[in-house]
C-alpha cells in the first residue's frame, strides 16, 4: 500500500494533462516535470487552475486525459490513499471530531507507523503548536489551523508534498519563520514540494523552480532569477514583478540587437533576449533597471533613452522611491530609484528615462489592448 516511512522525494511528471469540468476546461494541455527533492512553486492568479492541478496529483480529481507519474510510476488511475502524496489543503480540512494531536497522528496511524503520537507531537512542536495538542481544531485561530494542517501532512514525510497556499493566513513574521522552517525540512528530508502560492515573493524566495500559470496552462517556468530577468510573455512580465512595455515594429536589426521605433524613440533589445525577430514586438524593462535624469544624457548605442516626461507621482516605499513619469505619446513609465537620500526629483519636474539595452527583454506576444491596432 503506502510507502516506507522517511521516503525520499520522488519525481513528478504531468504529461499532456487536460481537465474538463462540465462546460469548463480548467487545465489545458499541461506538461510538467519536477525533479526529486525540488522545491517547485506554482504561481498564478485566482482561478487559473492551481488547486485543480494539486487535486489531480493527489488523486482527488481524475484527469480528462493525460498521465500523472510519481517516481516514474503511472498513478493516473490509482486512488488518493494509494499515492505517496500528502496535501495541505487550502481550506485546512482538519477533522473537527478529533483533537489537534489526533489530527496530526491520523496518517501515521493509517500506515501503522510506530509511536504515532510521539511523532505527531514532535511535528506539532515544529510548527510551534505543541502546547495546543489537546484542543479541537475549531478552538484554534485560522493561522494555527493552517499550521496544524501543515504538520498533519509533513509528519508523514511523503515523497511528494502538495501545499495549497499553506501560509496564506499567517502574519508576516510567522510566515517568514514558517518559510524558513519549511525550506529546512524540505532540504533535510529531501522531499519534493509542490507549493501553490499567491505571494510572488514567497515563490521567488523559497523555490528552486517557479512556474507561472495562467488560464489553465503554464506560461513560463524556470529558476526565479531567470524568470524575473527574462519574462517571455506579457502576462509573466506583469504578474511577476512590474514591467514597462514599449510596443513597436522592428525597424533595424544588427548582428546582435534589434530595435523598434516607438513614436520617434529608438528602443533596442539584444537579439538573444528577444522572443521574436520580425514584425511587431513588445520590449520591456523592469522599473528598477531604469534611471531618471534631470538633464538629457548623451545618446549612446548601449543605452535606451526616452523623454522628457513629467513626473506625475512619487511614492516613498522606504527602500526605494517609485516615480511615475508621463512621457508624451508613450504614457506612464514607472521607475524605481534606490532611496539613497539624495533624490532631488520633484513632482512636475521634466525628466529623461534611460536604461541599458542589455536590460531590455523582448516578449513573444503583445498586450491584448494593442493587438488590433495593426
Amino acid at each position: 500500500m503506502a510507502t516506507e516511512f522517511v521516503a525520499r522525494g520522488s519525481n513528478l511528471d504531468l504529461v499532456g494533462i487536460r481537465k474538463e469540468f462540465p462546460g469548463f476546461t480548467a487545465i489545458d494541455d499541461l506538461d510538467l516535470h519536477i525533479p526529486a527533492g525540488e522545491f517547485f512553486a506554482l504561481l498564478g492568479p485566482s482561478g487559473c487552475g492551481k488547486t485543480t492541478t494539486l487535486r489531480l496529483v493527489a488523486g482527488l480529481e481524475e484527469p480528462t486525459s493525460g498521465q500523472i507519474l510519481i517516481g516514474g510510476k503511472d498513478v493516473s488511475h490509482t486512488k488518493p490513499h494509494e499515492r505517496p502524496v500528502n496535501t495541505v489543503f487550502q481550506s485546512y480540512a482538519l477533522f473537527p471530531h478529533m483533537s489537534v494531536l489526533e489530527n496530526v497522528a491520523f496518517g501515521l496511524k493509517q500506515r501503522k507507523i510506530a509511536d504515532p503520537l510521539k511523532r505527531a507531537s514532535e511535528a506539532l512542536d515544529l510548527v510551534q503548536l505543541g502546547h495546543l495538542a489537546g484542543r479541537r481544531p475549531q478552538q484554534l485561530s485560522g493561522g494555527q489551523q493552517q499550521r496544524v494542517a501543515l504538520a498533519r501532512a509533513l509528519v508523514n514525510r511523503p515523497s511528494l508534498l502538495l501545499l495549497d497556499e499553506p501560509l496564506g493566513a499567517l502574519d508576516l513574521k510567522l510566515r517568514r519563520e514558517m518559510q524558513i522552517e519549511l525550506k529546512a525540512i524540505q532540504i533535510e528530508v529531501g522531499l519534493t514540494f509542490l507549493h501553490v502560492t499567491h505571494d510572488q515573493e514567497e515563490a521567488m524566495d523559497m523555490a528552486d523552480t517557479v512556474a507561472v500559470m495562467n488560464k489553465g496552462h503554464i506560461e513560463q517556468m524556470g529558476a526565479p532569477e531567470k524568470l524575473y530577468d527574462r519574462p517571455k510573455t506579457v502576462f509573466v512580465s506583469k504578474f511577476l514583478g512590474q514591467s514597462n512595455l514599449f510596443i513597436g515594429k522592428i525597424v533595424e536589426t544588427s548582428a546582435n540587437s534589434l530595435s523598434i521605433d516607438v513614436v520617434g524613440y529608438k528602443i533596442s533589445v539584444p537579439k538573444d533576449r528577444a522572443e521574436k525577430h520580425t514584425g511587431k514586438i513588445a520590449i520591456g524593462v523592469r522599473p528598477e533597471k531604469a534611471d531618471l535624469f534631470q538633464n538629457k544624457p548623451a545618446d549612446s548605442s548601449s543605452q535606451n533613452l526616452i523623454g522628457p516626461g513629467e513626473v506625475k507621482d512619487i511614492r516613498f516605499t522606504g527602500v526605494s522611491n517609485q516615480f511615475l513619469v508621463d512621457v508624451p505619446n508613450i504614457g506612464l513609465v514607472t521607475v524605481f530609484e534606490q532611496n539613497e537620500g539624495n533624490s532631488t526629483v520633484e513632482l512636475g519636474d521634466q525628466v529623461w528615462i534611460s536604461w541599458k539595452v542589455e536590460h531590455s527583454f523582448g516578449l513573444a506576444d503583445l498586450p491584448a489592448d494593442t493587438l488590433d491596432e495593426e
Binding site: L60, K79, P80, H81, F89, A93, F95, H97, Q110, L132
Partner: protein, 266 residues
C-alpha cells in the same frame, strides 16, 4: 406601559403555554397513583400499587414489550436505510435525484389513515399474513422519510474536503467512512433514530390497519379506553415520559461537561 407589557406578557404567555401542554401529562401521572377499581376515571385514593405491580393488568406489559420490540427493530432498519439514502441523495449525482427526494416526502405528507389502509390492502393482495413482520415493514416505511430528512441536513453540512483529507492521509474509502464520515454524522443519526423510535412507539393508525392480532401499547390503550384505561397504562406512560426527560437531561449535562473540558484544553 409598553415596557411593563413586554415584561409581563411574555412570561405569562409562556407559563400558560406550558400549563396547557403539561396538564394531560400531569393528569396521566397523577392518575397512575389512583387506587382504581375497574375504571380509572374518578379519583378513589392514593396508592403505589399500580407502580409496584405494573404487569398486574393482563396484556399491559406484553403490549408494551411488543411496542418496544417493534420500535427498536424499525428504528434500526429505518436509520440504517435512511442514512444510506441521505448520503446518496446529497453526495451522488444520478438521474431522477430530485424526483426521489420528492418521493421521500410523500409518506410525511400523506394522511396516516390513507397510508395504513393502502398498505393493508397491499398486504392483503399479496397474501401476506398480518403480524409483527407487517407492522415492522409499515413502521420502517413511515420512519424512513423522517430519518432521511434529518440525516440529509447533516450530510449537506459536511465538508467533502474532510473526507478527501482522510483519503489523502491513506484511509481507504471504507476507513474514511468509519473514521471521518460516520463520526461527523453521528449527532444527526442519533436524533433521527430517537425520532424514528418515538414515531414508531406511539403510532396507532397505521399499526391498527396492519398489525392483525399483534397488540401494541397504543392499540392496547385504545381498546382499553372503551372501559376506562387501566392505571397500569398510566404508569407505563408516565414512566416513558420520565425516562425521556432523564435521558434529555443526561445528554445535556454530558455535552456541557464535554464543552467545559474542551475549553479547558485538556
Amino acid at each position: 406601559m409598553r415596557f411593563a407589557l413586554g415584561k409581563w406578557a411574555l412570561p405569562l404567555y409562556t407559563v400558560l403555554a406550558f400549563i396547557y401542554l403539561l396538564i394531560p401529562i400531569a393528569y396521566t401521572f397523577v392518575f397512575s397513583f389512583n387506587d382504581s377499581f375497574k375504571s380509572n376515571i374518578s379519583w378513589r385514593g392514593f396508592t403505589f400499587n399500580n407502580w409496584l405491580n405494573v404487569c398486574g393488568e393482563p396484556g399491559v406489559c406484553d403490549a408494551f414489550g411488543t411496542s418496544v420490540l417493534i420500535g427498536v427493530v424499525s428504528t434500526v432498519l429505518a436509520t440504517i436505510l435512511g442514512t444510506m439514502i441521505a448520503i446518496a441523495l446529497v453526495r451522488y449525482e444520478f438521474k431522477a435525484r430530485s424526483q426521489v427526494s420528492l418521493l421521500l416526502f410523500l409518506p410525511m405528507a400523506t394522511p396516516e389513515i390513507v397510508l395504513g389502509a393502502g398498505l393493508a390492502s397491499q398486504f392483503f393482495n399479496m397474501g401476506v399474513t398480518k403480524g409483527l413482520g407487517t407492522v415492522i415493514v409499515a413502521h420502517v416505511m413511515f420512519c424512513l422519510s423522517f430519518v432521511v430528512v434529518t440525516v440529509k441536513a447533516r450530510v449537506a453540512s459536511l465538508d467533502p474536503a474532510l473526507e478527501e483529507a482522510g483519503s489523502d492521509l491513506y484511509a481507504t474509502p471504507a476507513q474514511v467512512f468509519r473514521k471521518v464520515t460516520l463520526p461527523l454524522l453521528t449527532p444527526g443519526i442519533m436524533s433521527a433514530a430517537l425520532l424514528a423510535f418515538a414515531l414508531s412507539f406511539d403510532d396507532f393508525i397505521i399499526t391498527n390497519f396492519n398489525a392483525g392480532p399483534v397488540d401494541t401499547f397504543p392499540k392496547f390503550v385504545y381498546t382499553a379506553a372503551a372501559k376506562g384505561i387501566p392505571a397500569e397504562a398510566n404508569v407505563i406512560g408516565s414512566a416513558v415520559f420520565l425516562v425521556a426527560i432523564i435521558a434529555v437531561v443526561l445528554v445535556q449535562l454530558n455535552s456541557a461537561r464535554k464543552q467545559k473540558r474542551l475549553l479547558a484544553g485538556k
